[in-house]
């Protein structure tokens, strides 16, 4: 079975250590950026699609620009929201076995996955994103700049989301945090 759900519930901590407080701030930063990005990409993509149709009648001359803009905005949305989606447990999991395992086992899997896959992946994507940004010339269009910037900052947000999950799951395994992240939490600032 596939798991698409974000479970309801509130993050509660038994003893809030400094690390937990720090990742709490980090999560709020990631959430705030993601809310801005979601609105700044979803709404324009919808508006541009309408403008595209209107342009055929009104000859506004934007038909050649809008598809590029929409595609770049989609790239920004995808890359910038990977981390936020992970923190909200929005990525598909195959939980045929997983859901029968103990919370401690789930926390260990999440920890190992973050250390072995998520952090190296965000480093690789971030590195090539940085390279791509450095190769962007000043003559490039604004939407190219936006997409290339997201190519670098998105993986950083993904990596930071991994850090939030790592710190919380280490705390969970040490008994100082109550929930397996991101499985048993929902972002407190999430809609």
């Amino acid at each position: 079975m596939k798991n698409h759900k974000n479970q309801a519930g509130r993050v509660e901590t038994r003893s809030v250590g400094r690390g937990i407080r720090a990742v709490g701030v980090l999560e709020r930063v990631i959430n705030s950026i993601s809310v801005i990005v979601a609105w700044a990409t979803v709404v324009p993509i919808a508006l541009f699609s309408i403008l595209q149709i209107l342009d055929r009648k009104l000859k506004l001359g934007v038909s050649s620009v809008l598809p590029d803009m929409s595609t770049s905005l989609l790239f920004v949305m995808i890359f910038m929201l990977f981390g936020f989606t992970y923190l909200r447990d929005g990525h598909v999991r195959v939980d045929v076995f997983h859901r029968h395992w103990s919370s401690r086992t789930q926390a260990k899997i999440e920890l190992i996955g973050c250390l072995l896959i998520l952090l190296p992946l965000s480093a690789v994507l971030g590195f090539y994103g940085w390279e791509g940004l450095m190769r962007t010339t000043k003559f490039a269009d604004a939407d190219v700049w936006l997409a290339r910037s997201a190519g670098m900052f998105g993986p950083i947000l993904l990596g930071l989301s991994g850090v939030v999950v790592i710190v919380r799951n280490i705390s969970f395994l040490r008994g100082t945090y109550d929930l397996v992240t991101p499985l048993e939490q929902t972002g407190s600032t999430a809609p």
């Binding site: 698409h4 309408i50 929409s70 999991r93």
Partner: protein, 451 residues
């Protein structure tokens, strides 16, 4: 050596996926491991990892594929979901069908079609149907098994009905025109609805045909229902008639749905915020799988994996019908565990060489029509898989909001006859390709299209 790396990649991927870690991350991780294996085998250079990134960026920003339609269809689904239109349509249809035995079960199926745009991506759309449909069905005296089966079937039907997102990916994978894929699915899905409806009419003995509206239920709202239907239908219609692209049509659909919500007095900032954020996260979820699938597929091709699988399958010396059966069987079984996204983006590309050597031109009519037929068979197989106990995802969604009187076992028992009907339809489509081909042939002059 190539065989070892191929098996190794598949095993690492399977192990990671079944660990419960997000599939997209596992795919990317095993893809990068595969790349390192290819470097060690001397098949590529480490510097070429950058080419993977460029390919990835190129895929995501390829305007030819119209990926921008995905968030718009999701947004449309979210707005419709938040509008409560499912409930209105359910009760309006229930009212229209008074006198028909099993009317609530039939209404449940039809609501599933209305929620098609984002079905299979927004799990909540099935839950919405479940929330709306269970109580009227149970109050009308339907057995828990019938009610559970109807809700699950409703959740699975929308996945393959235009303008479902999955059909967009089927068209992309098989390099077919979206309009053709849309048209090809209409007859099979409507046939399925008729078969399910006849089954319900024949098996439901409850006296729900007196037309009494239970206290607290909605009054029929024909105006809202017609607008909602117009919004949804306008998307495939504008694509088939060639007046708009999918992105444009979906954009118009979003604003049509917002108009509907405003007319119903349910437009609020909270609802919009929720829809925008869910659209963002669901889009990221879908495309993270695209990222993972791209990286995995590139590495898998690099180490020669598809060739190995091709040799294995052709080694069985199967004829084309047996090969088709094997492929569809694999898709069916994979559908128990994986979403259509992983199957279409990861597994089908792996088996693409096998698909490409299947020649059914003499059976279907032309190479293009044969590919449309194959695409429809894959879609129908996936849909059947989603409804098949014990793993079908629609069954679990149907259970999530079921009243205590409806157990998972009830839903399983309710789904089994429906799955059997699906298999009957699948066999019919295999034997009579016209069921899939006729409508696009009539409207789009299929004979002149080339792959």
């Amino acid at each position: 050596m190539i065989e070892i790396v191929t098996v190794g990649m598949l095993l690492v991927m399977a192990g990671g996926v079944f660990s419960g870690f997000p599939v997209a991350l596992v795919l990317t991780g095993s893809g990068i491991l595969g790349f390192f294996a290819a470097v060690m085998m001397g098949l590529t250079d480490f510097q070429h990892l950058g080419l993977f990134y460029l390919r990835l960026r190129g895929t995501l920003t390829n305007e030819g594929i119209q990926f921008t339609s995905v968030p718009l269809l999701i947004l449309l689904g979210m707005v419709l979901n938040g509008s409560g239109i499912a409930s209105t349509i359910f009760h309006t249809l229930g009212h229209m069908l008074r006198g028909v035995r099993g009317r609530y079960a039939i209404a449940t199926l039809l609501v599933g079609l209305i929620l098609a745009p984002a079905a299979g991506v927004i799990g909540a759309s099935v839950i919405t149907v479940a929330l709306v449909a269970y109580h009227p069905m149970l109050n009308a005296g339907y057995s828990p098994r019938t009610a559970g089966g109807a809700v699950a079937a409703s959740g699975a039907l929308g996945v393959i009905f235009p303008p479902a997102i999955m059909l967009f990916f089927i068209a992309t994978f098989f390099r077919l025109r979206l309009s053709v894929v849309y048209m090809s699915m209409i007859v099979p899905v409507l046939l399925l609805v008729v078969m399910f409806s006849v089954y319900f009419i024949c098996t439901i003995s409850a006296k729900d045909s007196e037309g009494s509206v239970a206290e607290g239920t909605e009054k029929p709202q024909y105006f809202s229902m017609i607008i909602a239907l117009a919004v949804i239908a306008s998307i495939p219609w504008s694509i088939v008639s060639g007046i708009a692209t999918l992105s444009e049509a979906a954009g118009v659909g979003v604003f049509g749905a917002l108009f509907l919500v405003a007319v119903r007095g349910q437009l609020s900032l909270t609802m919009l915020h929720n829809a925008v954020m869910q659209t963002g996260t669901l889009t990221a979820m879908v495309f993270f799988i695209v990222v993972g699938a791209t990286v995995f597929s590139l590495s898998f091709h690099l180490v020669g994996g598809p060739g190995v699988l091709f040799d294995w399958i052709t080694g069985f010396d199967l004829n084309r019908w047996e090969t088709l059966g094997l492929l569809l069987g694999l898709v069916f079984i994979l559908g128990f565990v994986f979403d259509w996204m992983e199957i279409l983006l990861v597994f089908l590309p792996i088996f693409l060489p096998v698909f490409q050597q299947l020649d059914f031109v003499d059976h279907v009519g032309s190479a293009y029509a044969a590919t449309v037929w194959l695409g429809a068979l894959v879609a129908l197989t996936l849909q059947s898989s989603f409804l098949t106990p014990p793993f079908g995802y629609a069954l679990f969604f149907a259970k999530m909001t079921a009243p205590a009187s409806v157990s998972l076992a009830d839903i399983y028992r309710g789904a089994i006859p429906l799955v059997l009907l699906e298999i009957v339809l699948l066999v019919l489509v295999v034997v009579f390709p016209a069921l899939v081909i006729w409508l696009p042939q009539m409207s789009l002059n299929l004979a002149q299209l080339a792959l």
